[in-house]
């Protein structure tokens, strides 16, 4: 009887199946790195892969009121702000998935996203 598949065909099938599955892997696994998103007026203006930061630097958000944001490896924080209560600065460093800080007068929000590498960490915090 004639063989339907040759050995090479089977390898090809396996390869294509794996390739098909691999196409969807990024969506399944999500972003492995911690990513900081900065929103100004409801729009994302900065998307920073915090694990890729080699040397810390500062971003100025014009506001008003204006504020400065410090970007470090695996951390981001409001360094200073011209807002009255400075709650954004008091929020301290954001280092984990779900950490959030905002400057309400300036309508700016910073959120950390991505995989934390630690499954016990919460997805969100109620306060």
């Amino acid at each position: 009887m004639k063989q339907l598949f040759k050995k090479a065909d089977i390898f090809l099938i396996l390869f294509l199946c794996l390739a098909g599955a691999a196409l969807f892997l990024p969506g399944i696994l999500g972003n492995e790195n911690l990513e900081a998103l900065i929103y100004e007026g409801g729009n994302i203006t900065h998307r920073i892969d915090l694990s890729e930061v080699e040397k810390s630097y500062v971003i100025i958000l014009d506001g008003p009121p204006a504020s400065t944001v410090k970007v470090e490896q695996n951390a981001i924080s409001y360094l200073s702000s011209e807002c009255p209560d400075k709650l954004c600065v008091k929020a301290g460093k954001l280092t984990h998935r779900g950490d959030t800080a905002a400057c309400l007068p300036a309508k700016t929000v910073m959120v950390i996203e991505g995989k934390s590498g630690n499954d016990t960490l919460p997805d969100i915090i109620t306060y």
């Binding site: 098909g20 301290g92 779900g98 997805d123 915090i125 109620t126």
Partner: protein, 349 residues
């Protein structure tokens, strides 16, 4: 040159394999419960809104939710925005005022909780809230005569509702701040449902909606003694609303003494029931938000009948870092900060 039969077969097999590979990918992707995740953050109701949505039309839905929350604030619930229903009701205290259908429903439902809590939640504290104004630059410690002068007008029982009209007693003023974020969660839930979203986590200033999804979500409870992103324990939950009231969120400090923003309608001063925070878990955002304020004012023991009445669960944290949980959360809550200790699960039966 025309392809031979063998080549035709190979090409067919290759095409079939490619299709099969694609299908395998989709099956794996779907089995894992993953659809594209959309994140959005913004500011509304004077607080931070964060959204994470999975499903088709997630981006549009996230936008729609943010717009709806802004609309709720400006058209209905704000006591500061001129033209909102609550602003108009307050401005015409003593006269019956027409309001939107939603506003009427929210006020009615909240007044019922005011009654059930015997005034531990009282939305007629609007003028007292404005007098203290804690959380604003103009916050100050009022004098006793100032507080006494406003206490007389406080009382949820004096609010009259009939034929779609709300009438406050002279001198009364509504403050829907204790339920606004919860109402926003309920409205978000309706939009998510309408748009066929698979799952979502919505936070409106710390009041959280967990919508759909197969897996439980880890919800941290803020550490009252810690920084904004510090948590003391974790709840594992799905398909519910969670609200927390705490004495750390908005504070006025005068001569070394701290005054928080949750007022006791009976005294006119910040509530002092021995609690530093209460987290409520139930099916409705309005309810979880309202109960968190009521229970914060009532204290642990007095809150239990109210929670039972509304089929809600709670985590109470006292000033000495003891943690009480209701029975329904016994398997869903874990203390992660060793400074806190479990005081027990209350048997509500």
């Amino acid at each position: 040159m025309a392809p031979t039969g063998n080549l035709k077969n190979k090409a067919g097999i290759a095409a079939a394999c490619a299709a099969a590979a694609f299908l395998v990918g989709i099956i794996i992707y779907d089995t894992a419960g993953h659809t594209p995740e959309i994140s959005k953050s913004g500011i509304a109701m004077g607080t931070v809104i964060t959204e994470k949505l999975h499903g088709k039309n997630a981006q549009e839905t996230a936008e729609e939710i943010l717009e709806r929350i802004n609309e709720i604030e400006s058209a209905s619930l704000s006591r500061r925005i001129k033209g909102s229903d609550i602003y108009n009701v307050n401005a015409h205290a003593g006269k019956a005022e027409s309001v939107g259908k939603n506003t009427l429903d929210w006020v009615k439902r909240t007044l019922e909780i005011c009654k059930s809590s015997a005034g531990a939640l009282d939305i007629t504290v609007g003028r007292l809230t404005a007098l203290w104004n804690i959380g604003d630059d103009s916050a100050r410690l009022p004098s006793q005569p100032e507080i006494d002068g406003l206490l007389g007008a406080v009382g949820y029982g004096k609010v009259l509702i009939s034929n779609g009209l709300i009438k406050l007693a002279e001198g009364q003023s509504l403050d829907m701040g204790a339920v606004g974020k919860g109402i926003a969660c309920d409205e978000a839930s309706q939009i998510l449902d309408k748009n066929g979203i698979d799952s979502a986590i919505i936070s409106v200033g710390g009041s959280i909606l967990l919508f759909g999804g197969k897996d439980k979500i880890k919800v941290g409870i803020r550490n009252p003694a810690g920084a904004a992103n510090d948590y003391m324990g974790v709840l594992n939950l799905k398909n519910c609303c969670i609200s927390t009231s705490g004495d750390y969120e908005k504070v006025l400090e005068v001569n070394g003494k701290k005054y928080h923003h949750i007022l006791d309608a009976k005294t006119g001063y910040p509530a002092d029931s021995g609690l530093t925070s209460v987290t409520i878990v139930c099916k409705s955002g309005l309810l979880s938000d309202a109960l968190s304020t009521a229970c914060f004012v009532l204290g642990y023991k007095k809150s239990l009948p109210l929670l039972k009445e509304y089929d809600a669960e709670a985590v109470f944290i006292t000033h000495n870092k003891s943690v009480y949980i209701t029975q329904g959360l016994a398997g869903s809550f874990e203390i992660t900060n060793t400074a806190y200790s479990a005081a027990g699960a209350e048997n509500e039966s």
